[in-house]
């Protein structure tokens, strides 16, 4: 399959979820704006929290797709799950960092 074909299919696949992506973007923008002038250190537990949330999301991802964690078997499966964990952890960090960061 061509690269162009893959991109086309991804865009078609995302079509029903644009609203959800937009919805996820709203709190992100709000928290980023609220933390605009904060330059202080981030609390240490933030990193741990994001890792825990990321791992949690990865663990429930198979169930959310009507599957089971025990069916995650191939390298591609594990990499997909890892991508879910990393993606959610990054989102969590971007979302909470401005809120939890100290002002100076």
């Amino acid at each position: 399959m061509t690269f162009e074909g893959v991109i086309t299919i991804i865009l078609y696949s995302l079509k029903p979820y644009w609203w959800l992506l937009a919805l996820l973007l709203v709190p992100l923008v709000l928290t980023q704006l609220s933390g605009w002038k904060k330059y202080g250190p981030r609390p240490g537990f933030l990193y741990l929290l994001c890792v825990v949330v990321g791992i949690g999301a990865a663990l429930v991802a198979p169930a959310l797709t009507m599957s089971k964690l025990s069916y995650v078997a191939t390298t591609t499966d594990w990499l997909s799950l890892l991508a879910v964990a990393v993606g959610v952890a990054i989102y969590c960090f971007l979302l909470l960092s401005p809120v939890l960061r100290r002002a100076s």
């Binding site: 074909g5 299919i9 696949s13 009507m66 599957s67 069916y71 078997a73 191939t74 591609t76 499966d77």
Partner: protein, 443 residues
Amino acid sequence: MHPFKASVPQNPGRRRILQMGAGATALSALPFGSAFARQGSNARIVILGAGAAGTAIANRLNNSLSGAKITIAGERQQHLYQPGYTLIASGLWPADKVATSTAEWLPSGVSWVPSDVSEFMPDQRKVKLTNGQVLEYDLLVIATGCQLNYTDIEGMSTDLIGQNGIGSVYASPAAASATNTQIESLISKGSGRAIFTLSNTAIKCAGAPLKMTFTTLSRLEDTGKRDQFQVDFFTPFQNRVFSVPVYNDFVLNRWQEQQVGLHDQRTLVGIDASSKTALFSSADGQTKRESYDFIHVVPPMSAPDAVRQSELAWQEGPMANQWLEIDQYNLQHRRYPEIFGVGDVIGTPFGKTAASVKKQAPVAEANILSYLAGQPLLAKYDGYTSCPLITSIGRAVLAEFGYGGELMPSFPFISPTEESWAVWVMKEKMLQPAYYAMLNGQV
């Protein structure tokens, strides 16, 4: 002599078609031709069938030709995403998830006649529709899909699906939903015998009967009372349920582990719904009755009667009077060069899935453009067929193969023989969007 001219019988009107396409030949030969130029033609193109294959080819030709008069004929008002039927019958999707409007997918430059074909007059280059209308063509694309011959099984009809333990995933979304209801009844009963069958003809989505067996097994196992249910699979073939050996072996081994009884060389020939009894013929000509609490019926299939009773069907060989006679590589009719075939209707060794259409449509498009331009038909269909073979609710194998049973994996990171959660997600979440992109002629 031009190789194409030499290989094609002379027909009335052929010179006209060559003239129609010749003007654009030079332009399309330029390096940027495929990206920017639409090939000029005033050919009258008729596409029979407004399903996956017909719609995909209509969009492709509409995008690649200018000046052509393209008409598509197909009665069904709803476009049905048939690869979703197994998910409906497994209780995973609602029936309405697979239905959209046919009109939604057809480009504005294409005329739609909501009527099916009733008669072919290939020597006059005409087709008659069920509404009585006669369409003349310079080029014909047959994409009618296949016909489900439920009544070839004595006592069986589509009306019985959803009653007396009878299920069949193929007939419609409603039938798939009714099949799910019958499986739920079996499960709620707490014990019983489930029979799964296979037809002795070529069938569309040959993985569907296997998927239905696997998803039902998955549901039975989830009850925690799997041992209360007897599950049997009846195949007309000798120790074979799938035509590609690697997948056949995989399925048979797995079923052995899952204690599925395999009954080979047994063909479903009759059904008595009232007594929940099925009649199977065997290789020695004997017939035997089997009682069931649930039966999944796979009907014999063929090209629609209008095709198989016409002179366009194969005249000899295993597909004689059953399927459209086309060259398995260039998809052109073997005796009528102005006719092409795409989709389930074609008589090729493989190629009756939506994924096959995805590969056939660009080949047919390229060869139709070449034909109109009087050039050799160079594009070749390799028999590509794909089937995300669900082996349990939640995992699947991405079976991809072509002529000769050769494995044809599309992605280097997905093994064609390994069960995978990612393939399941692909099947459940991404194939329908990919299918719609195909309908629009975009992949």
